[in-house]
C-alpha cells in the first residue's frame, strides 16, 4: 500500500518537469513576444515608444536572453515559490492568480460533489428499473447532456433567468461583495451565486457517470452473490444498497482521473460566458495578450491540479480495491 503510493509520488516531479517544458514551449510558440504585441497596442492608440525604451524593457523582463535561459529563470523562480510577474498587469502573478485559483477550486469541487450526488442515485434507479420509463428518460437525458456544449447551456439558462425572472446571474458575487475582503457574508453570497455554474458544469459529467454506475450495477445484480442474498429473503432495496452498489461505484472513483481535467477545462469556457472571476478568463486574456509568464504559470497550474486529481483517484482506488494495492507490493 505504502509502496504503491510512494511509487506514484515519485513519478510526480518527473511529470511536472515535462509539463513545465510543455507549458514553456506552448507560450513561446507564438511569433514575437509580449513587447511586440504591447508595441502594436500602443501604436494603435497613437503612442510611439522609442527603441532605447524597448530595449530597456526587453532587458528588464529578460526577453533578450536565449530561450533556454528564459526557461531556467522561470523554473528557478517557480521552485523558489516566485510565480513571476505579469507583464501586462505589472503585478505579481500570485496576486492575480491567488483568489481566482481558490474560486476555481471551489467551483470544481462543488461540481464534482453535485455530479456524484446526482449521478449515483440516477445510476442505481435506472439499473434497478431497467427498460422502465424512468430508465429511458434518463437515457435520453444522458445523450442530450453529452451533446450540449456547456457554454450553450449557460447562455440558455442565463437568458431564461433574465427573461422570465429578471435576474442577472453572472459572476460569483454581488457587486457589494466583489472587492470586499473575506467575511461570512461574502461566503454566503458566493454560495448564492455558485449553484448555477455548478449545475452547468456538472451536467455532462453527471450523464456519463450515471451511465457507468448503471452498467456496473447491472453486471453486479446478476451475479451469484446477489441471487444468494435475494434467495435468503433480503429486501430488494437493502440488498442493492448493501452489496452491489458498493462494487458498482468503485469505478466512479477511478473516473476522477479524467473527470477533474474535464471539469477544469469546461469551467474555463463557462467562466468566460458567465464572467466568473475564476482562472479561465485570466488565461484567455493572457494568451491573447502574449503575457507569457502569466499564461505559462496558469497552464502549469492546470497541469498540477490534473496530476493531483489523478493521484487522489489512484490512492482512493488502492484503498478501495485490494487487487490494485497488492500489485505494487
Amino acid at each position: 500500500m505504502h509502496w504503491f503510493i510512494l511509487k506514484r509520488l515519485l513519478i510526480i516531479p518527473f511529470l511536472l518537469l515535462i509539463f513545465s517544458i510543455i507549458s514553456f514551449v506552448l507560450i513561446q510558440a507564438p511569433p514575437g513576444d509580449f513587447l511586440t504585441s504591447y508595441i502594436a497596442e500602443l501604436a494603435q492608440g497613437g503612442t510611439t515608444i522609442d527603441q532605447a525604451q524597448i530595449d530597456a524593457l526587453r532587458r528588464q523582463y529578460g526577453l533578450d536572453q536565449p530561450v533556454y535561459v528564459q526557461y531556467f529563470l522561470w523554473v528557478g523562480n517557480l521552485l523558489q515559490g516566485d510565480l513571476g510577474v505579469s507583464l501586462e498587469w505589472r503585478r505579481a502573478n500570485v496576486e492575480l492568480i491567488g483568489e481566482r485559483l481558490l474560486l476555481t477550486l471551489a467551483l470544481t469541487t462543488a461540481s464534482l460533489l453535485f455530479t456524484w450526488a446526482v449521478a449515483i442515485p440516477i445510476g442505481i434507479l435506472s439499473a434497478t428499473r431497467q427498460y422502465s420509463l424512468l430508465d429511458y428518460f434518463f437515457t435520453v437525458l444522458n445523450y442530450i447532456g453529452l451533446a450540449t456544449p456547456n457554454f450553450l447551456l449557460a447562455l440558455v439558462l442565463m437568458w431564461i433567468a433574465f427573461d422570465r425572472f429578471g435576474l442577472t446571474v453572472t459572476g460569483l458575487f454581488s457587486p457589494e461583495y466583489a472587492q470586499a475582503p473575506w467575511s461570512w457574508g461574502r461566503f454566503v453570497n458566493l454560495l448564492q451565486h455558485l449553484w448555477l455554474p455548478m449545475i452547468v458544469l456538472g451536467v455532462a459529467g453527471t450523464a456519463q457517470i450515471a451511465r457507468v454506475v448503471r452498467a456496473n450495477l447491472l453486471d453486479e445484480l446478476s451475479k451469484p452473490y446477489s441471487e444468494m442474498a435475494r434467495a435468503k429473503g433480503l429486501p430488494e432495496w437493502k440488498l442493492v444498497l448493501k452489496y452491489p452498489t458498493r462494487v458498482a461505484i468503485a469505478p466512479v472513483i477511478s473516473t476522477l482521473g479524467w473527470y477533474v481535467p474535464q471539469l477544469l477545462s469546461g469551467g474555463l469556457v463557462v467562466s468566460v460566458v458567465m464572467s466568473l472571476p475564476t482562472i479561465g478568463p485570466l488565461l484567455l486574456r493572457a494568451l491573447i495578450g502574449q503575457d507569457m509568464y502569466l499564461a505559462g504559470t496558469i497552464i502549469l497550474i492546470f497541469c498540477v491540479l490534473t496530476v493531483i486529481g489523478t493521484l487522489i483517484s489512484d490512492i482512493l482506488l488502492a484503498v478501495l480495491d485490494p487487487r490494485i494495492r497488492m500489485e505494487g507490493a
Binding site: 445523450y143 456544449p149 457554454f151 437568458w159 469556457v269 488565461l283 496558469i298 497552464i299
Partner: protein
C-alpha cells in the same frame, strides 16, 4: 478467415454462414431503430455539408446594415384562419423612438410563398458545375429582399444561409481531425500492440502523458500561437491538426488492446505458422477483424472534435471570420446582452446538439453491432 463470396440475395438463412464480418455488423445494426433513424439525420447534415450553396437561400457573406437583427421569419400555413401553401410574412422595420433600436414586426399584407428549386445567386455545385438553382426560395420577392428563415445577425447577414455554410466547415473539421487521429492511433497503437516490449512501454507512457494534459488550456495555447495574419485555409488546417494532436490517444489505446487480444487468436497463429509475412498477417488477417470496432470508435470521436472546434471558435481562438463554422456563428451570441437582444442567434447551437447527439447514437449503435458477443 475472411470469406469474400457474396451471399445470394434474399436468402438470409444460408447467407449467414458465409457472410463477411461487415455484413453481419450491418444486419445487427439495422435492428437498432433509433440508430437507423439518426443515420438519416446525419445523412442529411452530411448532404448539407457537401453542397451548402444549394441549401442556402442567399449569399451568406452579404451584409446589409439596414437589415440587422431581423427575427426569424417562420414558415406559416394559416392566413386569416385558412390553410395555405407554406409562406412567410414580410417584415417592416420601425425605429423605437426611445431606444433607437430597430423593431421588426410582421407585415401581414405581404406574403411570400415557399418555392423549391428556384433561381438565386450563382455558384458551382460541388465546386464543379456552375448553376444558380437553390433548394429553397420564395415567390414574388422584390429585388434585394429575401426572407430570412432564421433571422439575421448584427451585420444583417442571413443566418439560415450562414448555418448551411457553417455545416460544411464544422463537419469537415470533425472528419479530418478524426481521420488524422485515427491514422496516428492505428499506426502507433498497432506498433505498440504488435511489437510489445520497450516500444510498447514508450508509446504507452507517451499516451499517459498526453492524456494527463488538461485539453482545453493546451488547445487554447496552441491556437493562440497561430499567427493572426494567416489566411483562413491555413488556420483551418492548423486547427484540425491541433485537435488531432491530443485526440489520437484514445484510439491508439483501443487498437493496442485489440492487437494484444488478436495476437494470441488461433487464426493469427495459424497464418504465422504457414509462413505469412508480418505485413500480410497484420493487414489481411488482423485488421479486417477489428475494422468495425475502429469505425465505431471513430464515429464516437467525431462529435467530440466538433464540440471542441465549437469551443475554440466560440472563445475566438479557433476559426476566425470570414470563415463560417458553428462556433463562429455562436460567437455572435457570446454574452447575455446579445442573447437577450437576439435569442435566435442561439439556433446554431441546436444544430450542434442534434448533430452531436446523432453521431453519438450512431456510434453506440455501430459499437453494439460490431460486438460479436452481443445478443
Amino acid at each position: 478467415m475472411s470469406v469474400s463470396a457474396a451471399p445470394a440475395k434474399g436468402d438470409l438463412g444460408s447467407a449467414v454462414y458465409v457472410a463477411p464480418a461487415w455484413k453481419m455488423t450491418w444486419w445487427r445494426f439495422r435492428k437498432h431503430k433509433l440508430a437507423v433513424a439518426f443515420l438519416w439525420v446525419i445523412g442529411l447534415v452530411a448532404l448539407i455539408a457537401i453542397m451548402p450553396e444549394f441549401f442556402a437561400t442567399q449569399d451568406p457573406f452579404a451584409t446589409s446594415a439596414r437589415r440587422a437583427y431581423i427575427p426569424p421569419q417562420t414558415l406559416q400555413v394559416l392566413h386569416e384562419g385558412r390553410l395555405q401553401w407554406p409562406f412567410v410574412y414580410g417584415v417592416e422595420g420601425q425605429r423605437d423612438p426611445r431606444t433607437l433600436r430597430m423593431e421588426w414586426v410582421d407585415d401581414t399584407e405581404v406574403r411570400y410563398g415557399l418555392r423549391f428549386f428556384v433561381k438565386g445567386f450563382e455558384y458551382r455545385l460541388l465546386g464543379l458545375i456552375p448553376t444558380d438553382r437553390h433548394f429553397l426560395g420564395f415567390a414574388d420577392t422584390p429585388p434585394g429582399v429575401t426572407p430570412n428563415l432564421l433571422g439575421t445577425d448584427r451585420l444583417g447577414r442571413d443566418q439560415w444561409s450562414r448555418l448551411m455554410y457553417g455545416t460544411r466547415i464544422s463537419l469537415s473539421i470533425g472528419l479530418v481531425a478524426v481521420a488524422i487521429s485515427t491514422l496516428l492511433g492505428i499506426l502507433l497503437g498497432g506498433i505498440s500492440g504488435f511489437y510489445g516490449g520497450w516500444v510498447d512501454n514508450l508509446i504507452q507512457r507517451l499516451i499517459e502523458l498526453l492524456q494527463a494534459l488538461p485539453p482545453i488550456p493546451v488547445w487554447l495555447a496552441l491556437s493562440a500561437a497561430l499567427p493572426r495574419t494567416w489566411p483562413v485555409t491555413w488556420v483551418y488546417f492548423a486547427i484540425t491538426v491541433i485537435l488531432a494532436l491530443l485526440g489520437w490517444t484514445r484510439l491508439a489505446r483501443e487498437v493496442r488492446g485489440r492487437f494484444l487480444s488478436l495476437r494470441e487468436e488461433d487464426f493469427v497463429v495459424a497464418a504465422r505458422l504457414v509462413g505469412a509475412s508480418q505485413w500480410r498477417v497484420i493487414f489481411s488477417h488482423m485488421v479486417p477483424s477489428f475494422t468495425s470496432h475502429i469505425i465505431a470508435a471513430t464515429t464516437l470521436a467525431i462529435p467530440l472534435m466538433i464540440l471542441n472546434e465549437t469551443f475554440l471558435s466560440f472563445l475566438g481562438l479557433g476559426l476566425r471570420p470570414p470563415a463560417i463554422s458553428w462556433g463562429v456563428l455562436l460567437q455572435e451570441a457570446q454574452n447575455l446582452q446579445s442573447v437577450v437582444n437576439a435569442p435566435w442567434l442561439l439556433i446554431p447551437g441546436l444544430f450542434v446538439i442534434v448533430t452531436v447527439l446523432g453521431l453519438n447514437i450512431l456510434g453506440d449503435g455501430l459499437r453494439d453491432a460490431a460486438d460479436p458477443y452481443s445478443t
